[in-house]
Amino acid sequence: METTNDITNFKVGVETKRGCLADSPQVIRASEFDFYRSETKYFDQLRYKPVAQITVTKSQLVIDVDGKSIELDAKLEKIAKEIEESKSILELNDDWDSFDAKKIDKEVWFMAVSLLSKYAHYILAEFSTVIQPPEINPVPNGTIDLSWRTKNGRFLMNVKGKESNTLASYYGDLYNNEQPIKDKLINDSIIKHLAYWMRNLA
């Protein structure tokens, strides 16, 4: 796992005729800035303009596997560690459970950890919440389980192989069957209500 630095934030504020900042400037993330910039109308309405690209550095954790890499925000260090440890799954051969289990394909593992990383980042960005790391477990049918038990809830997501029509299926609740959530993912696009529910995994 490597650490890199990146400039990611902008300082924005209300610019006056003299070019000074009238209100207290705010720092926003680059990803949010792109959103504001694309939404011109909203941007004008707020009269917010970028006045500086500030050099706030942000650590990132980078995990490499066979030329592909996954970057994680430093706040997601525990998840990065779990992903790093789960690389050992790729060393399993056929029959790894002594009951004819299938070897775990690299693509399936990469899909699983990418999906985990994507949701963890989204939840961090949208809700300022850092979710706990799941257990990343191989399943005898060649798929990967992401399994959580936290103070508030339990959640299981099974990430499938290439031959499946769905990317993943999942179930979670806040114990005693409260606020259950259950469905399938067709692709890796963020499902907002799922991400919102996953705040319970903090």
């Binding site: 009951f99 399994s147 038990r149 339990r154 769905t166």
Partner: protein
């Protein structure tokens, strides 16, 4: 008894599911990984207690071979979970889903049965794992009296190897270790 003869398993009966030590949660050693409840290819393999007591569950394990390396399994690496059939069938689910426990006798293992459910139903797997955690002290067992189990395994292996040698010239028999004692 013929391996083809299938019986109905009553709801108040018990079945054993064996799980290797490495199949338990890293965070909580009293909870199996949900991966251990993946019902593939045809269902979750269990042993029906009516035809296989706890000791024999481990004898069956020790008398069978790993498919990958051809070596006999070490029964000491396993723990057995004892589920009541009704407990499995009556798991409270968000949507109705079929869960059944059916007798599926195999050559040399008449007690073999299957717990059948949709392999994409993660709700069943997570709830089975949590049942085990909640009742761990009552339903999870290590091998009872390992020396006796080992003795029975040795007897079985010896008998099977002798049968293999004797039948070599007669027909194409099963390789020793591919069947298990009842």
């Amino acid at each position: 008894m013929s391996a083809e003869l299938k019986e109905e398993i009553p709801d108040n009966h018990f079945v054993f599911r064996s799980i290797r030590y490495s199949g338990w949660s890293k965070q909580n050693k009293k909870r199996p990984q949900e991966a251990c409840f993946s019902p593939v290819p045809d269902g979750l393999s269990v042993n029906w207690e009516k035809h296989c007591d706890l000791q024999n569950v481990f004898v069956i394990l020790g008398a069978s071979k790993n498919i990958g390396n051809g070596k006999y399994k070490d029964f000491r690496e396993f723990r057995a979970i004892k589920f009541q059939v009704s407990e499995i069938k009556n798991i409270e689910l968000l949507e109705p889903s079929d869960i059944d426990v059916v007798h599926n006798p195999q050559p040399g293992n008449y007690s073999h049965s299957l717990v059948c459910y949709d392999e994409n139903n993660e709700e069943i797997r997570i709830k089975l794992a949590d049942i085990v955690e909640a009742k761990y002290d009552l339903i999870v067992f290590s091998p009872p009296n390992p020396p006796t189990i080992q003795e029975k395994i040795e007897e079985f292996r010896k008998a099977e190897e002798e049968a293999f040698v004797n039948s070599k010239d007669v027909s194409s028999p099963e390789e020793p270790g591919k069947t298990s004692p009842q």
